[in-house]
Amino acid sequence: MSSTTPLLEVRGATKRYPGVLALRDVNLSLGPSEVLAVIGENGAGKSTLMKVLAGIQQLDAGEILLDGKPIRIRSVQASLDLGVALIHQELNLCENLDVAANIFLGREPLRHGLIHEARAVEASRKFLQMVGLDISPRTPLQQLTIGRRQLVEIAKALSINARVLIMDEPTSSLTQHETENLFEVVDRLRERGVSMVYISHRLGEVKRLADRVMVLRDGENAGEISKQDITHDKMVGLMVGRDVSRFYDRHPHPAGDVALAVDQLRTRAHPGCRLSFQVRAGEIVGVAGLVGAGRTELLETLFGVERPLGGTIKVRGEKTRFRAPREAIAAGVALAPEDRKQHGLILEASVEENIGMAGWFRHRLAGGFFNRRRQVADAQAMIEKLNIKTPHARQMVLYLSGGNQQKVVLGKWLALAPRVLLLDEPTRGIDVGAKEEIYHLMDRLAAEGVAILFASSEMEEVLGVSDRVLVMHQGSIAGELARSQLTEEAVMRLATGAEPVTVSNL
């Protein structure tokens, strides 16, 4: 065969789970030293395809070829032996061991039947260097940040001579700096001849890294984009299968009275910083910033999860001092939290209960009795209003997709008609279709006079939906940008602290 033989090829991959066809006749090819981005909405089949390559799942039909030769990948070990390594979304490392022990876990160099630690440490250095990690192999893993742990995992993959690295949402919990660092490692590995399959929801990253983009939709190939043609719109278009020019669909709203006024607020996470800003009724204010800039802490303090150390919060002119979320809710403030599954939902409860929960007390009958009729009505109204895709209101939230789960969280609050809506990463981990619906919902709510303050790490979304953006840096508000001043560069300058705090607040 010619030199154009792909390193790894998948032909006609079909995988059926009970009741669902996860992959239908999917083809994939990966050349040597190539970074192939695989994108698609949740449920498009990305994870299934990667699990097949990593030996976690077996195909029902189709074949996999390595160097043009058909192979069978029956187990994770078999996949590793073939030089294919999957870097998991949730890292698979032992926190209690040091870096060298993690790299050689299960393959420890032995001497007289005992672990030869010196050799493991020595051998680890080379791989750590390859991923640009300047740390001692003896460092206990628990001392490393998530970003560095991920690099250790990559080093581990390199130590088995992996020729194909599969990275599943590798940047989902990294800081901006760690993300940049990872990009450099990807570039370096590509130069060394390692091929990579890169799965990400973050299209900006895909644009930066990918040599080619492969799009999956509903378990089938939806198209490919070669490097020179990669654009945001094109990727989204293939993912959702239609034109997305009206994605954000913003309507300018006249701002009303001040709904939320924060003055000199000090949060527990950043006691040295004082935050002051206002949000008016009908306004959508974005909170941008890097991971760790204090956005979540700000929203949680406003919602009464954490008590402020100082400063004042006024909701619709009334000075408040929330001791718990229930007091914030009573004052008309709601929060859709960042960690939906931990804080936003009871996964093992029904859609109906999750929507009704926050209103149980407000709508109780005499004697503290539960008002089921009200809950049923509210849930039905929200399922219709938010287009929640669920077979029925009694369905467990656990079985819904990420986007529909987020809509349940929003439904819970909208049923109480809040005046101030706080959203923390409102579209994290949800597919493009649901994202669009949530943006339109935010627009509609603002038109109805709700004051919306939302924190987001997704630049596109901050630029797309905000009337105004507060940019946070290391716990304080580095600046504020009006709609007319909003550019990616302006936000990043403030978020990285490149620009001193000169922009005044209001």
Binding site: G19, P325, I329, I346, A358, W360, R364, G368, F370, Y399
Partner: protein
């Protein structure tokens, strides 16, 4: 109702099997006995269910039964208190113990296991110290008070069989508990926080107050149980009275469908659960099985029941998941 179908079937099977093998099971005397024991243990199991539903555990139930069982006769017989005054003190003791447990668990964030394990030791020690390890009882006095536990209520149109009073107390308590748990917002708060405390808090539920309330309900029913057991036994050994009773209560709750992870459970299930254990205990006696094997047999049955339940649940979940995706 579907949830308690399995355990109810088990109860019926054991009853039928025992009565076939030994007709004595169906005599009024024996049935009244089994039902009385079910009532006594049912009271404490209902309380334990609340704590388990919030995702907690209470290991101090048995010791608190021991302590209250000693304090009641001590106050009445040795200190000459009136029965209502002594009962009030015992009730306050239960409420206070529950409040303390709840505060330690919610405000100091101590683990329920540790807090109530310490309670188990503290209350047992107190019971022995207060009584000087002397056996307590009411002798031949206070027959009316003792009727609370030993009394029997005749049923209309039925002769030869009377309903033991503890089971009536248990049923009244059970109806109140079931209504509270399922029909009031507070009961639903407990079920919600048992499944995900953080999400409940973020939804505006006062999770600390609800957790404290659950421990207060549990300790107060334990105190009530302590009173009933004391009135029934009339000979209370401070060192051993109520020992291991928390394990019966927890086992009944688990058998009855409560998840130890919290958030799941029904009062009806708990009552059927404790009935299963009492009937099992009775049939071991009636069938002439070595009583030394009592715990082994109960343990095996519970383990088998919970295993079967788990397998059925998994099977149902996978069926449902497949159906949803199709």
């Amino acid at each position: 109702m579907k949830k308690i179908l399995g355990i109810s079937t088990l109860l019926v099977v054991i009853c039928v099997a025992t009565s076939v093998m030994n007709p004595q099971f169906l005599t009024a005397y024996n049935l009244q006995n089994v039902i009385r024991w079910t009532g006594l243990f049912g009271v404490i199991s209902i309380g334990a269910a609340f704590v388990i539903i919030t995702g907690g555990i209470d290991l101090s139930i048995g010791s608190l039964i021991g302590l209250t069982g000693c304090v009641l006769p001590l106050l009445i017989m040795q200190h000459g208190w009136s029965a209502p005054a002594a009962l009030l003190v015992v009730a306050l003791l239960g409420l206070g113990v529950g409040l303390t447990h709840g505060l330690l668990i919610t405000k100091l964030k101590l683990r329920p296991f540790v807090v109530t394990l310490c309670g188990l030791m503290i209350y047992r020690g107190l019971a022995r110290w207060l009584t000087g390890d002397q056996t307590q009882g009411f002798g031949q006095e206070h027959e009316t008070l003792r009727l609370l536990a030993t009394g029997k209520v005749p049923l209309p149109f039925v002769t030869g069989f009377e309903l033991p009073s503890p089971v009536l107390i248990m049923l009244a308590l059970g109806v109140a508990a079931a209504v509270f748990l399922n029909k009031t917002v507070y009961g639903r708060y407990m079920l919600a926080l048992g499944r995900n405390e953080q999400a409940a808090r973020y939804s505006g539920i006062n999770t600390d107050a609800m957790t404290i309330l659950a421990y207060m309900i549990c300790s107060t029913t334990a105190a009530l149980g302590g009173v009933l057991f004391a009135l029934d036994f009339n000979l209370i050994q401070p060192a051993g009275h109520g020992d291991f009773y928390e394990l019966y209560a927890i086992a009944a709750a688990v058998l009855g469908g409560c998840s130890l992870r919290g958030g799941e459970g029904s009062i009806a299930g708990v009552i059927v659960g404790i009935a299963v254990m009492r009937v099992l205990y009775n049939s071991i006696n009636l069938l002439g099985i070595d009583t030394q094997l009592e715990f082994t047999i109960i343990g095996v049955v519970i383990l088998g029941g919970v295993t079967a339940d788990e397998l059925v649940k998994r099977w149902a979940a996978s069926r449902r998941a497949a159906a949803e995706k199709a």
